[in-house]
């Protein structure tokens, strides 16, 4: 009997403690909800409300207006280009760092982290300095005599793509490096023992085993690219309009909340769908690793 009461008391105090624990995240949750989640929710609601009640006008406009379609096409094609380039540059770099001795690898990772922690605005500015008409790259090639007049490198899609690639690349390299590093090297040794050449072991063992990490990293880069605002605004020179820029124009220049938030909602749905995909890929990787 006494033991029973004791257990009941313990359970009650455990429940009270659990409630106290659940109260701890509340201030952060409340602030996030009030400042971010609720206003965004209200905006999405606004996107479905016209002068005469419920309307899909904001969405049909996006689908019918060639201007909007062009923006969506530009956003996707730039993001896909950047994702492919990030894989082509990032995978070899991640692999390269994984083959280095510890100290050299730490230095290289540090070098990858410097741009990662540098303000996005500063990096965009750096590319403007490098790419513009009287910029360093044009000066260099003119001096070499390879070109006779400066090339158009900034204030267009090319400049935007390079600048954005530079910003997203660490987001690919760091998880990719972790994926390669966590790989069980015994697989590679086994492949070598079975007579596979290092090149063959690389392509038939290392690459397939790191594909989940690669897919997750690539999706991360892609989704991050979709929402870019600052870099295309500066390096695009008005010739490149991405979704986020149109959202900003609709909200601040035209004060058209419905138009701004409908586009934002589409961007958010794509973003969340991709994050869901990333989680699935990573979960399968973790499950398969055992």
């Amino acid at each position: 009997m006494a033991a029973g009461t004791n257990i009941a008391l313990l359970e009650a105090s455990e429940r009270a403690e659990r409630r106290r624990f659940l109260a701890l995240p509340m201030p952060a949750l409340l602030l996030t909800a009030v400042i971010c989640i609720v206003p965004v929710g209200i905006l999405f609601w606004v996107s479905f409300v016209g002068p005469e009640g419920f309307t899909l006008e904001n969405y049909t406009r996006i689908l019918e207006n060639p201007g909007y379609l062009k923006i969506l096409r530009t956003t996707f094609s730039i993001s896909i280009t950047i994702t492919i380039l990030a894989i082509l540059l990032g995978f070899p770099l991640a692999y390269y760092i994984s083959t280095l001795p510890d100290r050299a690898a730490a230095i290289c990772l540090g070098l990858v982290l410097v741009p990662f922690w540098t303000s996005l605005l500063v990096r965009t500015y750096a590319w403007l300095v490098l790419l513009q008409r009287q910029g360093l790259i044009n000066d260099f090639f003119l001096w070499l005599g390879v070109i006779d007049e400066p090339m158009r490198l900034a204030y267009n899609r090319f400049g935007t793509t390079i600048g954005m690639l530079h910003i997203v690349l660490p987001f690919f390299v760091l998880p990719m490096f972790a994926a390669i590093k966590s790989l069980d090297r015994d697989w590679l040794r086994a492949a070598a023992n079975l007579g596979a050449s290092p090149v063959r072991a690389f392509w038939t063992v290392l690459v397939p085993l790191t594909i989940p990490g690669l897919v997750a990293g690539a999706l991360l880069v892609f989704v991050y690219s979709l929402g870019f605002y600052v870099t295309p605004e500066i390096l695009g020179g008005g010739r490149v309009t991405m979704v986020a820029m149109k959202v900003q124009q609709n909200a601040t220049i035209y004060a058209d909340w419905g138009a701004a938030s409908s586009l934002a909602l589409i961007l958010l749905i794509i973003t969340l769908a991709i994050f869901f995909g990333i989680e699935r890929v990573l979960r399968r990787q973790r499950g398969g690793g055992n």
Binding site: R18, F21, L22, A23, L24, P25, P27, A28, L29, T32, C36, V38, P39, V40, I42, L43, L89, P92, L93, Y95, Y96, T99, L100, P101, A106, C108, G110, L111, V112, L113, V114, W117, T118, S119, L121, V122, R123, Y125, A126, V129, Q132, L136, D139, H166, P170, R185, P198, A201, G227, V230, I234, V247, Q248, A251, W257, A264, L267, L268, T271, L272
Partner: protein, 268 residues
Amino acid sequence: MHGTFEIGVPVWRRLWLHAVGIGVILFLIVPVFIIIPMSFSSSQYFEFPPKDFSLRWYESYFHSVEWMEATWVSLRVAFFTMLLATPLGIAAAYGLTFTRHRAVPMLRATVVAPMIIPVIIVAIGVFYLYARIGLVNTIFGLVLAHTVLAIPFVVIIVTAGLRRFDTALENAAMSLGANRFLAFVTVTLPSIRRSVFAAALIALITSLDEVVVALFISLGEKATLTRRMFASLRDQVDPTIAAISTLLICVSLVVVVFYSVQASRPKK
């Protein structure tokens, strides 16, 4: 056991890998560091290497009322963001890590959401809200918005620290008579202090580097440094930005060095 399986790779192939690896690292690093010598140039136009050494862009930065005002706004906002986001994030991380409840994944997703939602969407949401409650162009409004953006980073870093922490220690302190709060402050907090410092630093940097939300909700006298830099870059490029960028790069370097030192220390 590094490089064991690379044995037998022809030298030219290793060279090729070195060339590609170092090439990509240069692509990442050179644009960041090229700003530094440029900021010491005397010329109005971009020249590399700079012809004459000069501090004129630093002078123009430190003597400009507008830039100083913007810097002061940014520093204040970043400082208060750190002060607010760090404890809120620690409390959230602690609560979410040590609770078994079916609501936990949902709560965690909500707290981390501002990191996943494209910042432009957060920005128009905040702008929409602030325009209605009169928080546009206020330090307080900036701090709240930046805190929401910084909390996810604090939560993630502190959660990682807490997962490595042995909860038996906290329980031991409680069995010796400490209440939960005292046990947390005297036992848990000191052993996750590295995560806490890292989280605070990231909260600071998140606010300092933030552009998009500030673009919507800070103007004129209340414009942040990055917001003013953005406007300047869009209109006409002023080499003063090279000087400011160099200072911001130095901040980033401090962070990276801090991280490297932390990572190279043995983990408990």
